[in-house]
Every structure is written in structure tokens, then in C-alpha cells.
Amino acid sequence: MEHEERPRPVPAGEPHGLRVVIAEDDPLLREGLALLLRAESLDVAATAGTAEEALAAIEAHRPDVAILDVRMPPTHTDEGIRAAVEARRRRPGLAVLVLSAYVEQSFATQLLTGGVGGLGYLLKERVGRVEEFLDALHRVAGGGTAIDPEVVAQLFTRTRQDTRLERLSPREDEVLALMAEGLGNSAIAARLFVTDGAVHKHIRSIFAKLDMSPADQVDRRVAAVLHYLEDARRRTP
């Protein structure tokens, strides 16, 4: 994430924020995450070391959002992804934020097949940028989307030859990428240091150039953008 984060005073105290379940097999990192979120007054209802424990904890505590590590025992491959899909199958609409040591666009696609609402997929190290991470967490908990810039970049690299994408101005490229990450208009405006009105204008222009119908809701917009990028990737060899 490219811009400098400015920590601002946040009152610590009794948990009054989101109820969270954390699944991460590395004990130190699990404790670090819990420490961080508790300090931010979030309610860490339970922590888990495996996908099974995570599913049980989600059943038991009905969190607002579940944070899942991708690689967990026993095979250390994609347990977290599968647990996320399973948890959302059992409780449709459950907000899930998947964290991973590396991001893979194919994992993102697998996650997004059940709809992009209330879904996040981020690199683990994004947690260190606490404010942005909390933003993403709240966005996901509120039914929005948080896709790692790295995933979006992978989609963009592979769709470089799409002729319609070439029609976009550099600024419109940036806006499209932030839209794909799941940011709303005002968040995009804040990132790019422009006004909401300017962002609105860019977005209309992008939809026009890519022949996409403008979607009003943010998560539907993310879906539209991601689908567009996916399709473009398939079209180009």
C-alpha cells in the first residue's frame, strides 16, 4: 500500500467493536494478531490453530468476521481457502478475511465463486498497516470486499494486451485497480488525493470505455470489475 499511514489516537478500552474469530497455525503470529485487534477494542471471541477448530469456533461464536490463514495443518496447502468456502456455505453471507503468505489469483477466483460480498483476501503483511487493515476488516464485515493490490496487479499484468484496457488513462487505471480492491468512492478519493466528484467522473468514463454497465453498489461493482479482468485474461493468451 503506497501511501504513508498516519496513526491517530484511538481510544482503547472495553471491546465494543467487531466480534472476530482468528485462525492461524503459527502461535506467535496468532497471539500478535489477537493482541493487535484487542488493543483496537475488537472482540476477539476465539482463536484457532486449524481449519476444523476455526469452523467449530465460527459455529460457536457467530463472529462478525472470521480471519483465516490459508496454509494450516495438516497439509499446509489451502485449508484456509477451503474452510472459508465451507464456512460461507454453512452460513451464507458470513464475512471472511483470508490472509496468506503469498497471494495467488487462482485462490482469489476460487474464493470469489460464492460471491464477493463480505470477502477479503490479503497478504499477511498488510496487517502491519493497522489503519488500512482495520478499514479492510470493517469493509468486509460490512458486506464489502477487500482484494489485495497484489492480486489485482496479477490480473492487470495478465490482461495488459486487452485493447479496451489500453484506452484507459493512467489515472483511470489507478481508479480501476482500487475499485477491484474493493474500495468505495470516498476511499478511492482519499487514496488518490482527489475529490469524490473527480472519482465519480473517472468511474463513469471507465465503465463507458470498457462497455460495462455502471453498478451502484460497491460489491456488485467489484464483481463486475473482477469479472471483466478475468474475462480479459481469458481472452488474451
Binding site: 484511538v10 503459527d26 493482541l35 488493543a39 499446509h76 502491519g128
Partner: protein, 429 residues
């Protein structure tokens, strides 16, 4: 290494080999080995006779139908005898590679099978020439002893008894008796001079006809090499996966912890700077752990000491660092693939760590041998035993590593001890 060539055989004994015996004894030794080989051949040649008879009866009665019933039996007997001869020839000389797949025992495929036909040709030659050579070899020492010592007992023999072993002439006087003993000496000369050649002659049909055909041998070799190469690539991929996992799940997690804690610390500074130090302290220790993990991962790829000092040197270093007195006995000349040596090194390192921690042993022994293209590592201790792989020991990781190299690991640890860990690794030579 030297031991392997100490049992001299006519097939193996080259002129340049020196087994430490005086020059004069060498031909005698070669002759003895040749004689025993010829008599061994006589054994299979004698068995060849009834098998030949069985085959002949089978062939002759085939039109009457009885032969068809006999055929599987006869073929099985033929193959079994051929197998025995192959094993015998392999024991006394270079390997006789059996045909692959094994020759058929059913009549129709056997008639078309080249390996079976070659076995029949061998059977004919071995049951005749082979039998003759073997019998001669059995009789020669008898003749030599009987005739050489003839002057000692000729006067006790009845009149008109045949004097010589070969059945010619009679001895009536001392000069004649001495002449007979000259014949015995001649037999000794034949034994020393000719038996090695006779042994080769007797073995020749077997070596030529019982070995797999040249084309077949090559294709089998290719199949073997393909399999070993695939295994090697597999081991390589597993190794890479292990390293990737160690980096992603170990080192990177520590670094993520550092950034998470630093993020938390910055937020804490904004709220209450006095309490930020506690979090910074944790961040620092996470960074230190990341460094330690990185060192472990790098060392786990290839311990530098292995490259500098070789396997024996590296193991000696491990033993020197072990709190339990440890004797290192390495007899494995040459170098192997770095990954194989690294695996052997980690097996020993893990074993010594476990011995120091859990066994209560007074001493340990590490034995490393290189036999038949395999590296064998064995670690013994005199501790209390009862070692359990499941109980948080690093043995599971070691077993995975050994398996990645297509090797085997065996742990014997009865309660009360002693404990033995044996690892067998193909060297991929």
C-alpha cells in the same frame, strides 16, 4: 572395499590383483577355486540330465497329448535349473542378468519365447560338455593323489592290478611304480595349468545363453534409469517444497509478526507512549527469531561444514559437540550427492540431539557404511530406550527427508534400551 575382491575366482582374478599371498601360491589358489567351480557346475549338469530327459519325453509324447500335460512341469523345472545356474555363475563371477519378464511356463508362449529356447540350448550343452568337464575336474585330484602316492603302496596291490588311474599298464618294478607317480605329477600339472580354462569353458554356455539378450538388457537398464531419475527429481521437488514451506510458514511468519507488532506499537505510541515499549520489545524478539529461523533454513538446505570438511569431518564435529560421548566410525570412501550427505548429516544430528535429551545414555556410536550404491547410517546408544517417534521428536521430519530420497528409516527402541536408528539411503550414483 578391498574385502570384496579377496575371494578370488578364476573369473575375477585378474593378473594385476594382489591379495597378499606369495606368488607361488596364487596359481594353486586359482586352481582350487577353478576345481570347486567345476564341481559346482557338475552339480547343475547332473540335474540337467533328468530335466533334459523330461523335456525329451514331453516333446515325444506331445502328439499323444500326455506331453501337453507334462509341459508346464518340464518348463518349470527348466526355468528353476536355469535360475540356479544363473545364481551360481553370479556368485563366482560377474552378474548373469536374468531375462525380464521371467520366461513363460505355459506351452504356447514358451515355444515362441527366445529366452526359453536359449535355456534349452544351454541345457543341451551343459548336460553334455559341462557334465564331462565337471566329472574330469572331480576325478583329476583323485588321480593326482592316487598316482603320485603309488610307490608308497604298490607292493600291497594284488598281481595284475591296473597300475594307473587311466587304466593302462601294470607296474612290476620300482622304476615302473615311480613312472606311475610321474603320471600323478602330470595330473597335478593339468590341475594347475588347465582347470581355470576348463572352468571358463564350462561356464561359457551359461554366461552366453542364460543372460538376458543384449537388446533386452539395455531396455531394462533404460527403464531402471528412468525410474531412478524420476525418483531423484521427486526427491528434488520434495526438498524444494520443504524449503519453500520453511521460508513461508516459518521465517515469513516471524517477519509478519514483526510488522504486526510494529503496527500495534505505533498505534500504542499515539495512545499511550509509555506502554509502547512492551510491544516494541516483543517486536524485537520476533525479529531475532526471524533471523534464527533464517539461519536454520539456510543451514537446513546445506550445512556449510559438510562442504568444507566432508561427511566424516562434519559427523566428527557433531560428535564433538554431543554431551553424550560418541564414537564415529565412517567407512564410506568417495563423495555422494550433496543432498544425500546432508540427509545423513541431519539424521545423525537429530539422533544425537534426541540421545542427549531423552535417552540417559552413557555412550553412543555412529556407524556409516557405503555398500552397493547405498549409504547406511546407524546410530546406537545404551540408554533407556522407549523412544517414540510421535512424541514431538524431530524424527518425523527426518523420516520425511529420508523418504524424499527414496530411503528407509528404522527405529528399534525397546523399553530399557538399547536404541538403534538405522537409515539406508540410495546414493544415486
Amino acid at each position: 572395499m578391498v574385502k570384496g575382491t579377496a575371494t578370488m575366482t578364476p573369473d575375477r582374478a585378474g593378473p594385476g590383483q594382489d591379495d597378499g599371498s606369495p606368488a607361488a601360491a596364487r596359481p594353486l589358489r586359482a586352481a582350487t577355486a577353478a576345481l570347486s567351480q567345476l564341481v559346482g557346475g557338475l552339480g547343475t549338469a547332473l540335474t540337467a540330465l533328468p530335466v533334459l530327459l523330461l523335456l525329451a519325453v514331453t516333446a515325444l509324447t506331445a502328439p499323444a497329448g500326455i506331453g501337453l500335460l507334462l509341459a508346464p512341469l518340464a518348463l518349470r523345472a527348466l526355468h528353476a535349473l536355469a535360475r540356479r545356474e544363473r545364481a551360481r555363475l553370479t556368485r563366482v563371477g560377474s552378474e548373469v542378468v536374468p531375462p525380464h519378464p521371467p520366461p513363460p511356463t505355459r506351452t504356447r508362449p514358451a515355444l515362441a519365447d527366445p529366452a526359453t529356447r536359449r535355456e534349452v540350448r544351454w541345457l543341451l550343452r551343459h548336460s553334455t560338455a559341462g557334465l564331462l568337464l565337471g566329472t574330469t575336474a572331480l576325478l583329476l585330484p583323485v588321480i593326482a593323489v592316487r598316482d603320485t602316492t603309488f610307490p608308497l603302496y604298490w607292493r600291497l596291490l594284488p598281481e595284475n592290478a591296473t597300475a594307473t588311474s587311466i587304466g593302462l599298464g601294470q607296474a612290476h618294478s620300482w622304476p615302473q611304480a615311480l613312472a606311475v607317480s610321474l603320471l600323478g605329477i602330470g595330473a597335478i600339472a593339468v590341475i594347475v595349468g588347465l582347470t581355470p580354462g576348463m572352468a571358463r569353458l564350462q561356464a561359457r554356455p551359461g554366461r552366453a545363453l542364460l543372460a538376458a539378450g543384449p537388446e533386452e538388457d539395455l531396455s531394462r537398464r533404460v527403464a531402471e534409469l528412468t525410474a531412478t531419475r524420476a525418483a531423484a527429481l521427486d526427491a528434488h521437488a520434495t526438498e524444494l517444497r520443504r524449503i519453500e514451506r520453511a521460508l513461508h510458514d516459518g521465517t515469513q511468519n516471524r517477519l509478519v509478526s514483526v510488522t504486526v507488532l510494529l503496527g500495534a506499537a505505533r498505534r500504542q505510541v499515539a495512545r499511550d507512549p509509555s506502554r509502547a515499549d512492551e510491544i516494541l520489545e516483543r517486536a524485537q524478539s520476533a525479529a531475532e527469531q526471524a533471523l534464527a529461523e533464517l539461519r536454520t533454513v539456510a543451514r537446513g538446505i546445506l550445512p556449510p561444514v559438510l562442504d568444507d570438511r566432508g561427511l566424516e569431518g562434519a559427523l566428527t564435529g557433531l560428535a564433538a559437540g554431543s554431551p553424550v560421548p560418541c564414537r564415529i566410525d565412517v567407512d564410506a570412501p568417495g563423495r555422494r550427492a550433496a543432498s544425500v550427505e546432508a540427509t545423513a548429516y541431519f539424521v545423525v544430528a537429530e539422533a544425537l540431539t534426541n540421545i542427549a535429551r531423552h535417552s540417559g545414555a552413557d555412550r553412543a556410536t555412529v556407524t556409516v557404511r557405503n555398500r552397493g550404491g547405498r549409504l547406511r547410517v546407524r546410530i546406537d546408544d545404551d540408554g533407556r530406550g522407549g523412544a517414540d517417534e510421535g512424541c514431538g521428536s524431530g524424527l518425523t521430519g527426518i523420516r520425511r527427508r529420508v523418504a524424499a530420497h527414496d530411503g528407509t528409516l528404522r527405529l528399534t527402541s525397546p523399553v530399557g534400551g538399547p536404541t538403534t536408528l538405522e537409515v539406508d539411503l540410495p546414493c544415486g550414483a
